[in-house]
């Protein structure tokens, strides 16, 4: 993988921010977009913008081909059996909410259990809290190990025959830990529960094979993998999706509408009420093409190398605490003694370095870490060793700056 060549595909990276070359280390929040994605969206609006699945005219056919072509790209990307299992949504949040609302409310009753972990993003906590409240089911948490990983023994302890749903992130957006989804899915299935995976931080960065994982649902977002905002994916096994009710009703998703009753289209369209996110899906398709051209395996190896390098350099600075396990995906979450992460982020920003500071939509995990907030640098295929150096040097400066003012 030629990082320089990859970087050249991302126009936004070639600018100065606050008088310094931009060092973008916030890809876990949202990734930057390659020119090919920007072009694909522009071409759609300039050349064949039209509604899908209804026009007899030619533009409608082109738009439908573009939209459904993107679905086939997603199917191949995660190795789903059929495009009927690929539902376009607004993002990971909508994907999880769809399952929590439709599958959750129809299949849970008092006494049943939903099992999640304290490391989840809010979008994989709150939908389950709401479903538990609505159905009388119990929400249970698998405890975390000291380094923030999950042990299979704890999973076996927590998941019981009353468990109907296990929901878990594939890669933690804070700790960078990679959860053993395949093994956990097996445990869930032994107890008759379905497994939902929040893949927001995994699908953009590593090869995901939903058939190999054998999970029942897999959710991810386009904007974290080079695609536009507003488009995401819900993968679900066909036999489960077929039994689920749609959550949005209206145009596009119907088969026959009477005065008092209606029937739904077949999968996947019954879950895509209203005019879909056509440009978004086409943009996501272009992002997948780009990822495949670089190679998911190469991207994963590159990011892991950067994260290890960052980890090594950070651990050599006095007063820096890094959270999460040694073996990690491409991000480092940290704190600098006596300096609040907002202040760290502001000083780094003055150097053109973009990092995230705050609770990372993981307040329960912050509580578990016994911190109110943390700072995070996250890497993607376009980041370089020089980016990590700029970041660590910036952090050193931050330390000196606050050392002086105190």
């Amino acid at each position: 993988m030629d990082v320089k060549q990859v970087r050249n595909a991302f126009p936004i990276l070639h600018q100065e921010v606050n008088g310094h070359p931009l060092v973008y280390l916030d890809s876990a929040a949202t990734s930057q977009k390659p020119q090919s994605v920007i072009d694909a969206i522009e071409e759609y609006y300039k050349g064949y913008n039209s509604n899908v699945h209804r026009g007899v005219h030619t533009l409608g056919t082109w738009a439908t081909d573009g939209y459904e072509g993107a679905r086939e790209k997603v199917r191949r990307f995660i190795n789903a059996k059929s495009t009927q299992e690929i539902i376009f949504t607004r993002g990971t949040t909508t994907s999880i909410n769809t399952v929590a609302y439709s599958y959750g409310r129809d299949n849970l009753q008092p006494g049943d259990e939903i099992v999640i972990t304290p490391m989840e993003h809010h979008s994989n906590i709150i939908p389950w809290q709401q479903t538990a409240k609505a159905t009388g089911a119990t929400l249970k948490y698998i405890p975390l190990q000291e380094d923030g990983t999950i042990s299979l023994d704890d999973v076996k302890e927590t998941v019981t025959d009353n468990t109907k749903i296990v929901a878990m992130m594939h890669v933690s957006n804070v700790l960078g830990s990679i959860n053993p989804i395949k093994e956990i899915t097996e445990i869930a299935h032994e107890h008759g529960a379905v497994m939902l995976v929040d893949g927001a931080q995994a699908a953009p960065h590593m090869r995901v094979d939903v058939q190999d994982l054998n999970c029942d649902f897999y959710a991810f977002s386009g904007h974290k993998m080079g695609g536009p905002t507003g488009i995401g994916v819900l993968y679900g096994k066909k036999d489960i999706l077929e039994k689920m009710e749609p959550v949005e009703f209206g145009g596009e998703m119907i088969d026959f509408v009477g005065l008092y009753d209606s029937t739904w289209k077949e999968l996947p369209w019954k879950f895509e009420g209203g005019t879909p996110i056509i440009a978004g899906a086409i943009g996501l398709g272009a992002a997948i093409d780009f990822l495949e051209s670089v190679g998911l395996e190469e991207i994963e190896a590159h990011e892991k190398k950067l994260a290890q390098y960052a980890l090594d350099r950070l651990q050599s600075i006095d007063g820096v605490t890094v959270y999460g396990p040694q073996e990690r995906a491409g991000l480092v979450t940290f704190n600098l003694d006596d300096v609040h992460p907002h202040d760290v982020a502001t000083v780094l920003d003055a150097e053109g370095i973009a990092v995230r500071a705050g609770h990372h939509c993981a307040q329960p995990l912050m509580k578990w870490l016994e911190v109110s907030a943390t700072a995070r640098a996250s890497f993607y295929m376009y980041n370089t060793k020089e980016d990590v150096d700029a970041f660590v040097d910036g952090l050193q400066k931050t330390k000196e700056f606050f050392g002086d003012v105190f």
């Binding site: 008088g19 609040h340 907002h342 003055a350 500071a357 109110s372 907030a373 700056f401 003012v405 105190f406």
Partner: protein, 146 residues
């Protein structure tokens, strides 16, 4: 943006309030308490106010946050003590104007004391919410009282 701007943001007096917060703690039970968060970043402040005969007779705060939000809370509690509710709200409006980079009457600015040091925050749009958190809590508190 340079370290010069940062120096403007993190003035000595701000760091002093951050390191040695004034009026940190709580008041007895009959005082009013306002909890306010900045949900985007996790800053959290608990403001305790005692209002008697239309005047803020005492104010204390507790919370977690960055240097800007906590120093602002410290300065605010100092500034509003002894002021009438109206004066305190006026001050809050003026502070909000400063944060939005609006022109503020020089004489009035003097009345703000240490708070003037926070003027540099206006150049950092992402941090304005940190600075205004305590003031918003105060406004909500006196509003409920009325």
């Amino acid at each position: 943006m340079s370290f010069n701007n940062l120096d403007q943001l993190y003035r000595q007096v701000i760091m002093d309030h951050y390191k040695n917060p004034r009026n940190k703690g709580s008041l007895e039970e009959d005082a009013m308490t306002v909890d306010m968060n900045n949900p985007t970043c996790g800053d959290r402040i608990q403001l305790h106010l005692k209002v008697e005969d239309g005047k803020v007779s005492d104010a204390k705060f507790d919370g977690e946050g960055c240097s800007i939000s906590l120093s602002s809370a410290s300065m605010m509690t100092e500034a509003i003590k002894g002021k009438t509710v109206e004066e305190a709200v006026d001050m809050s409006n003026m502070f909000s104007d400063i944060m939005q980079g609006k022109e503020v009457n020089e004489d009035k600015l003097e009345d703000l004391g240490d708070i003037q040091a926070l003027q540099g925050v206006a150049k950092f749009p992402a941090r304005i919410k940190c600075a205004t958190l305590a003031w918003k809590a105060m406004e909500q508190g006196v509003d409920e009282k009325e």
